[in-house]
Assembly symmetry: C2
Homo-oligomer: 119 residues x 2
């Protein structure tokens, strides 16, 4: 399958704190990060959230632009992975602390995986 | 000096993640938290930031409403402290990780203390 236009992603060194914090200030986006926290690549179609598809795309774009996720397009399908190692290198302990806090506070539990067929 | 109207603060158990993350998504507010991170009470008049006084008051209100700081009014003066222990109890490791990331990323260095006379 031909690889199409790939969205721009910040390099690890270009990831900055304020956009990361802003991206993680939303329950849907925290839910997406929780869902991706096993670092397996997921098709956008697998992701389940109580928002419209266009809103979900927006949230995924915010996460990508902040350097939190990597989006890969293959044909008409999009796949997403958490950039856990990159974030850990840039801001040690930050993502783990946010994920632990989200767990304590039950934030993002309404986001998960469905039985979609990928991207 | 008579104690006047005290602003409402969330109890420790009422502190929630999303407002905390949103409050910490701004460089001035991160600078204020850095400045207060020694947990000494500071008069608002001691705080130096490259914004108008009304903007600084707004930022201090956002931090207070999120449960990150405690504001005490005494007469016409306001004093502020970081609720470091409360936050640590609620979301272990989160504030330290954000402060460490702010240090790495040089965020909030334009905020500090002046030689003001307190509140």
């Amino acid at each position: 399958m031909p690889v199409m236009h790939q969205a721009p992603h910040p390099d690890t060194a270009e990831i900055t704190l304020i956009p990361v914090m802003a991206a993680l200030s939303d329950p849907i986006r925290i839910g997406l990060v929780r869902t991706l926290s096993d670092c397996r690549e997921r098709g956008w179609g697998e992701l389940r959230a109580p928002v419209a598809k266009s809103t979900l795309s927006h949230h995924l774009r915010v996460l990508r632009d902040a350097g939190i996720t990597r989006t890969r397009q293959e044909g008409t399908r999009c796949y997403v992975t958490l950039r856990r190692d990159d974030l850990e290198r840039r801001f040690p302990g930050l993502l783990n602390a946010v994920l632990a806090a989200a767990d304590i506070d039950h934030v993002g539990r309404h986001v998960g995986l469905g039985t979609g067929n990928g991207g």
